[in-house]
Symmetry: C2
Subunit: 334 residues, 2 copies
């Protein structure tokens, strides 16, 4: 139970869903405060039956706040969240800025809740494409020890924020009408296209989004020996990231065993009947907190390999839901 | 040089492009005949400055034909093409029906031209997703011997024929307008979605499209030991298939070496400057006969691995262009 919970970035794509989840899941708090940039300050939002006026995010705004849930750009998180920690608040951060800091816990509650409970400073929520993948990896890693992951992503435009979806919608309409459209969130047209770059060039020809999947996976699973080869691609889907994943385990895992392991993992739902054309897709996975897994099959190229297809709502389990689940974990204290 | 060349399936998505290529590339033939189903018979088309009336495809229609280029559904190819062979014609087939028949040559002219030149019966053109992949594999296989390929595809709706693109266009318009649309070419909505099934369930949880990438690759490269693990996915792109490919070679290949090998291969164009956001995409690869390769980088999970991104026009090099190139090879005779 927290007295005062502050949501930073309350008007963003993820912030909006965080508010929705706090209300729907009856998050145990006496007061909520909403913080955002000066541009949004003064506006009012409804939360848990109350009208709340958005306050401007400043270094001094965290006085009396017990828990901060922040979803902001990296530079905002870098600048303001240390002030929240200094003011004595527990801080859950959605941004990418703090995740790999050795003093910061990087948490998926189903995987490493103890990291959140023991955290002294900021608790980071992973990158959306990492979260769904590590949740799928966890039961396989426990059962057969994952040595290697090869992943190709099919990522939604909502991962680029509200402007990403505006670009998809308006760009697509323009393309259908043969009109021009100037994209703001993407370097190339996303309508009827596939863009094999998310983030900037980070190292060795890999993008920042791809290297997140390498480093965050190791930190969350607590195993620096897991090798990851990622390819991150933006496709014209508005919401839900899809991932084609191949894992190699020390001990081979059969398809039946994998299905049973996935089905027994909280947060995972198996949808897998190819003969009935039944598998996860963005169209049947959106607005859900689950990670959906299908197309589970033996790797045809390696006896220790297992291939599957994984879809999840990147704004929910990939972002807002994971943050709220961390908050619930802190509120329970166990 | 051929006297009479017949194009079967002249009105289809691929057939239309075959006619265009024959004209633009000044294919050496005295006469062209156009064959199609009874529904299209009697219609007229322009080809090489002449008006040609479409004739109905029958078992007896191949009399006097020297070369047949056919792009039809599998069952049509199964029924009629043996009659063309019997009538003494050379036959190039785009369908999937004959490819894996041991008496049939499966040809990508840059890779195994001798198979076409030595063929006694039908010469098959590979599946579109296979063609661009094997062309990319060939120089790497020659240099370092490929042992294993892991590929995830991002396939365009034009691969499902004219109706595939109608579905994408009309389904997308309906989705933007909040209206209903009944898809004809796809089991699920393709607008703003990703469908991880192309073809039917073939074996071991893999689809027919995926197994084509396994078996056709081995046959074209003449190496039954190459292991392939494919995942084929339809995305809302109208034309050009994209592929996230990872190869493992016996002898490691560096990024610089791979770039040089790709650049020296006829039919391949390297587009690879991540810092300048330059890489192949459907939007910059359509209506070209090339296979475009970018995002070339070392596999982070295996010293013998190399990852890259490959895009090509599935109706051109993936279908029509490859068939016409085989025809040109037969006409040259070397």
């Amino acid at each position: 139970m927290f007295d005062t919970v502050a949501v930073v970035g309350a008007t963003g794509a993820v912030g909006t869903i965080i508010l929705d989840l706090l209300e729907k899941r009856n998050f145990p708090a006496k007061n909520f405060r909403l913080l955002a940039s000066a541009r949004s300050a003064g506006k009012q939002l409804q939360l848990a039956g109350k009208t709340i006026t958005i306050e401007e995010l400043t270094h001094d705004c965290f006085e009396g706040v017990d828990l901060v849930i922040a979803s902001t750009p990296d530079d905002t998180a870098a600048e303001y969240l240390p002030s929240a920690v200094k003011a004595g608040a527990k801080v859950i951060d959605e941004s990418g800025y703090w995740r790999m800091n050795p003093d910061v816990a990087l948490v998926v509650p189903e995987i490493n809740p103890e990291a959140a409970l023991n955290a002294q400073g900021i608790i980071a929520s992973p990158n959306c494409s990492t979260t769904q993948m590590v949740l799928a990896m966890k039961p396989l890693h426990d059962a057969g020890k994952i040595r290697r992951v090869i992943v190709s992503t099919y990522q939604a435009t909502s991962g680029a924020g509200l402007q990403g979806n505006i670009d998809l919608q308006e760009g697509t309409r323009a393309a259908l009408d043969g009109a021009d459209y100037e994209y703001k969130a993407f370097a190339h047209p996303i309508a009827f296209n596939a863009i094999p770059q998310i983030g900037s060039h980070k190292e060795q020809g890999y993008t920042s989004e791809e290297m997140k999947m390498v480093y965050e996976t190791r930190k969350i699973l607590g195993d620096e020996t897991i090798m990851v080869c990622p390819t991150c691609v933006r496709i014209p889907v508005s919401n839900c990231h899809s991932e084609s994943i191949l894992v190699e385990t020390e001990k081979p895992i059969s398809v039946d065993e994998a299905k049973a392991l996935f089905a027994a993992t909280p947060g995972i739902t198996v949808v897998d009947d190819l003969d009935a054309s039944s598998y996860p897709m963005p169209s049947n996975s959106t607005s859900s907190d689950e990670v959906y897994i299908g197309r589970i099959r033996k790797d045809l190229s390696n006896p220790n390999g297992l291939a599957f297809w994984c879809v999840s709502d990147n704004l929910r389990k990939g972002a807002a839901t994971n943050a709220v689940q961390i908050a619930e974990l802190l509120a329970r204290g166990v």
